[in-house]
């Protein structure tokens, strides 16, 4: 029996090549989208779970407990990890993790600027599972001046030589011995590093011994490990008030965050760069379901529309003894067969498209089906379910034909069944319109963020890192660069102007109430900073060589700071300071975006502080930029600084702030386009079918004098109504969902009515385009031919 069904199903598919193609194509695209998104979601959910102790590890973070606006920070001070381990017996292991500046690492003639050279404590390897290829994790950090490197780093420095025991030189200042080689850090790890050294070196060589016990130096991550299956609630309770005990005036509290929750749920300041968001996992899963749904609905629609062809067969089978249940099983068999065929092509399609998807999403997803039976099994199940779902309505509908109705005359579509088909098409198009609107809104917000006036100029400015010895030579480099006629300004600062995050705690100012708190962000800059970036001043002046006290006591604040401090005009001259520096405000700058657009503009202060400058900026003229850059590189090399001339353009950095959103926007756009394509595919099938059905009617109308255009118009009218209805349904849903998404941005584009009208126009245009060809062809058919075939 099964063989019989299979044979018929296959032959039927082959006979109706056009419609089978549309059906299978739609299902293929739907399944392929589903599969790729499944891979993406799996990857996101898998972050950090490869560590054996993952469930027992927590990150410690702190937050300001009094001001409601203060956001919690993932950065903690150096002494915290050891102190917690000592004071709380529940904590069986702890480690710090972090770094301080890029540094230059050399081995013989090879030198590289390493940005992913991190530091941690000996407990690190016991807590986190990184496979050691060479060396012993238990002893790798016995000597402070050691380093553990990844296989890629090993190949980079040592080629095929055995790295163990060899020495790397850092910043031409100190040496570290290679005590271990680990497998490359997997892509689904929140902790990223190429080289890892004990935290001790960070203190000794970079931030200084004086900061070893500095509880105010919040620049690193702290991780603690509890015993397996222990709850963290107890410990969280005990942490309350801990910081107050050390410093009675502190208003900061600590809290624990489960390590495996960080990637998708963490909303702290100063967090990892490769964070994801659980929101997007949901959105994309929904997207995958949408696309598959649209494809299935297509299938249902097309199959039932063409039911007249199968009617005879159904009636006959009932006559020779088939029961309804047997017929249902037969039709399910057909739909499942098509779904399985679609599965095979979908697997091939995914193989082809995965590299493209990877570049869109910034991941390294691999299909590797052979290594992953559960995944394959899951996809098979998805195809099965799709086949059963898509085939459900057609099976029930087709099997219900009564032989009497079917064998005596031609089967007319009953009112109920064509109404249901209408509902299906409208449903499909509603989804498509929803996705179109979503795409428009997301694209607008992305372009808004890209083009917004930040309030300061960032074009034609390159920046270089000045660390270690370079800092001492900064003055000399600046002077030499300024001699170049194409250079307009040279200045420096601690943080990038696109991401000023540091805060010195609550400052003091004239008229401040004793208990008052204010979170203010700060950056330390060189003279000429304001001029280089064209930051407008609303009051006062910028830092100047004419005033000898400027480097010590001058502060420039922004308008928001003035507002929060409730200072009255004139603001210039009023007292201001932090960290026991007593100074005054010399100027007020206009509010500008020195952070990503997710954040509101916050109070900001600039001060001069040469020891903490980390980057220098060179603003160059617009003509012949490459020539200018070459001559700057020459100047650099002539100075024999020992560091390579590595620079970046500032607007690059800015784009990177929104890399996540851009990526997500791209993925969303692509899938939305696919979904719309599938819906149109379905419409194409339906239109062809309607043309077939109405061939006789059209023939008659033409004979009676209707024009070709008129007939085509008449056919398109029906579809137009459906599409408009779909729009009306999609608009409220889209409005609700999109306005919620936009609320996540402190600065956003608007959700204008024109977006909705545009989507209506687009969807209508697409639909008409799809049916236009079919309608025209039907209208052009020779009436003599169509009227002759009288069934």
């Amino acid at each position: 029996m099964l063989k019989n069904y299979f044979k018929i199903a296959l032959r039927y598919i082959l006979r109706q090549k056009f419609y089978s193609f549309i059906n299978i194509a739609g299902l293929t695209i739907g399944m392929a989208c589903c599969m790729m998104i499944t891979l993406w979601v799996r990857d996101e959910l898998s972050y950090d779970r490869f560590h054996q102790n993952a469930e027992a590890i927590y990150r410690v973070y702190h937050y300001e407990s009094t001001t409601p606006q203060s956001s919690p920070s993932a950065l903690t001070p150096p002494p915290m990890a050891a102190a917690l381990k000592k004071d709380f017996p529940e904590i069986i292991k702890s480690t710090r993790f972090g770094t301080w500046l890029k540094r230059l690492v050399t081995y013989q003639d090879k030198h590289f600027n390493e940005t992913m050279y991190m530091h941690a404590d000996p407990d690190f390897f016991a807590m986190f599972s990184f496979e050691f290829v060479k060396g012993d994790p238990a002893t790798a950090f016995s000597n402070p001046y050691s380093v553990v490197i990844t296989e890629t780093a090993a190949a980079k420095y040592f080629g095929r030589e055995d790295p163990l025991g060899k020495t790397l030189t850092v910043n031409h200042t100190f040496d570290v011995a290679v005590t271990g080689v680990i497998q490359d850090v997997p892509s689904n790890s929140s902790l990223e590093f190429d080289l890892l050294s004990p935290f001790d070196i960070l203190i000794k060589e970079f931030i200084g011994e004086k900061n070893r016990s500095n509880w105010g130096f919040n620049s690193f991550s702290t991780y603690v490990m509890l015993p397996r299956n222990a709850s963290s609630d107890n410990l969280s309770q005990k942490l309350n008030g801990y910081l107050k005990k050390l410093e009675p005036e502190s208003t900061y509290e600590m809290a624990l965050q489960p390590f495996i929750d960080i990637h998708l749920f963490s909303k702290l300041d100063h967090d990892y760069k490769n964070l994801g968001d659980i929101k997007y996992v949901w959105i994309f899963s929904a997207l995958a379901v949408f696309v598959l749904l649209i494809a299935s609905v297509n299938f249902m629609n097309l199959t039932t529309a063409r039911s007249a062809n199968r009617a005879q067969e159904v009636g006959l089978r009932k006559v020779v003894g088939a029961q309804r249940s047997q017929l249902i099983r037969q039709f399910f068999g057909e739909s499942v067969l098509m779904a399985l065929l679609a599965l095979v092509t979908a697997l091939l399609l995914v193989e082809l498209l995965l590299p493209l998807f990877n570049s869109l999403s910034g991941k390294h997803l691999a299909s590797a089906w052979q290594n992953n039976p559960p995944l394959l099994f899951g996809f098979f199940g998805m195809a099965l379910l799709t086949g059963l779902f898509s085939g459900s309505y057609p099976a029930l509908f087709l099997s219900s034909f009564q032989p009497v109705r079917v064998l005596k005359g031609s089967l007319r579509s009953t009112g109920a069944n064509s109404r249901f088909r209408k509902v299906l098409v409208i449903f499909q198009f509603s989804l498509s319109v929803f996705l179109i609107i979503g795409t428009i809104v997301i694209s607008r917000q992305l372009s808004y963020m890209r083009n917004i006036d930040l309030g300061f100029s960032r074009e034609r400015i390159i920046h270089l890192d000045i660390h270690g010895e370079l800092l001492e030579k900064y003055g000399a480099i600046r002077d030499r660069f300024l001699q170049n006629p194409k250079v307009l300004h040279v200045t420096a600062s601690m943080a990038l102007p696109t991401n000023i995050q540091s805060t010195p705690g609550t400052p003091e100012w004239e008229g401040k109430a004793p208990d008052e708190q204010m979170e203010i962000k700060a950056d330390f800059v060189d003279i000429d900073y304001i001029e280089t970036f064209n930051i407008p001043l609303v009051e006062g002046r910028s830092f100047s060589r004419d005033y000898a006290t400027d480097p010590e006591t001058a502060f420039i604040v922004n308008e928001e700071a003035v507002r929060r401090m409730r200072l009255q005009k004139p603001v210039v001259g009023k007292r201001f300071g932090f960290w026991n520096i007593d100074g005054q405000i010399i100027g007020v700058m206009k509010d500008a975006h020195f952070q990503s657009l997710h954040h509101r503009i916050e109070p900001l202060v600039f001060k001069m502080f040469p020891p903490w400058l980390r980057r220098m900026y060179v603003k160059i003229q617009s003509d012949n930029i490459s020539a200018t850059l070459s001559s700057l590189e020459e100047t650099w090399d002539q100075m024999n600084l020992g560091y390579p001339f590595e620079f970046r353009f500032l607007d690059e950095n800015f784009h990177n702030l929104y890399k996540t959103e851009e990526r997500l926007g791209n993925i969303f756009r692509s899938f939305a386009a696919l979904a719309v394509f599938i819906a149109c595919l379905g419409l194409l099938g339906l239109a062809s079918f309607m043309a077939e059905q109405k061939a006789k009617e059209i023939g008659i109308r033409r004979i009676l004098g209707a024009s070709v255009f008129g007939v085509a118009l008449m056919m398109s009218k029906e579809f137009t109504k459906w599409v408009l209805m779909a729009n009306l349904i999609a608009w409220p849903a889209a409005w609700i969902v999109m306005s919620r998404w936009l609320k996540g941005f402190a600065y956003r584009s608007d959700l204008g009515a024109w977006i909705f009208f545009l989507s209506a126009g687009l969807s209508l245009g697409l639909a008409l385009l799809t049916v236009a060809f079919q309608s025209y062809r039907a209208a052009l058919a020779n009436p003599a031919k169509t009227l002759r075939q009288e069934t």
């Binding site: 029996m1 019989n4 044979k7 018929i8 032959r11 039927y12 006979r15 005879q312 067969e313 009636g315 006959l316 089978r317 009932k318 006559v319 020779v320 003894g321 088939a322 029961q323 309804r324 047997q326 009564q402 032989p403 009497v404 064998l407 005596k408």
Partner: protein
């Protein structure tokens, strides 16, 4: 074998009832060869479908081998007409996607006949109707007469007690039509009850009893 008592069939749309059959009373014994004749729209096909249990009367009783058909539900009806009745249609109604062999096999599959037994029965039919050479061809590759022969073979393969034929020679030429009617005559002589609906006097002459329908009434019953 067949007893119809006051069978009536109408279609209602709103308040209007359109009567197709009125007060049909009929008695048919096993082994008879009956023709139902009448002009178009007289209700012949409807009567045939009711007899074949493919349609239900609006009122009246239908006894088939003393079973009250009007009281059975769908599953039981299917069982009945699967085992006792064979249908032959004017437009053959073969399944286009199956070969002749597979078309013949289909009723046996629904009766859950085992493989080897199925093969035997199909081969027997192919032989009897002289269509062995066509067994792997599709219906659209056969002539009208061959298709109808296949259809008759299919109707017979389950060894039914009753054959219902709706204009069996309507789409055939004279020679092919004769062939089919000779076949029916043979079957009837072998004991199968045959009921046919036809316009052709010639076809009617093969039977031994003619029932005339006009506007839903029986007007003649010899």
């Amino acid at each position: 074998m067949i007893k119809l008592i006051d069978i009536t069939k109408y279609y209602s749309s709103g308040f209007v009832k359109t009567f197709v059959l009125r007060d049909i009373n009929l008695d048919i014994k096993e082994g008879e060869f009956v023709t139902i004749m009448g002009p178009s729209g007289a209700g012949k096909s409807t009567l045939l479908y009711i007899l074949g249990m493919l349609d239900n009367p609006s009122s009246g009783e239908y006894c088939f081998f003393d079973k009250k058909v009007h009281k059975l539900h769908e599953k039981q009806l299917t069982e009945l007409h699967k085992n006792y009745i064979g249908f032959v249609f004017q437009s053959y109604h073969l399944i286009d996607d199956l070969t002749v062999y597979e078309n013949l096999e289909t009723p046996l599959l629904y009766k859950k006949v085992k493989g080897s037994e199925r093969k035997g029965k199909v081969c027997e039919m192919l032989d009897r109707f002289h269509i062995v050479a066509k067994k792997d061809l599709f219906p659209n590759q056969l002539s009208g007469g061959q298709q109808q022969k296949t259809a008759v073979a299919r109707a017979l393969i389950t060894e039914p007690k009753l054959i219902l034929a709706d204009e069996p020679t309507g789409n055939l030429n004279t020679k092919e039509g004769e062939e089919i009617m000779e076949l029916f005559k043979e079957l009837n002589e072998g004991g199968t009850t045959i009921l046919q609906v036809t316009h052709s006097e010639k076809n009617a002459s093969y039977s031994r009893r003619i029932i005339n329908l006009l506007d839903g009434w029986i007007v003649d019953n010899k």
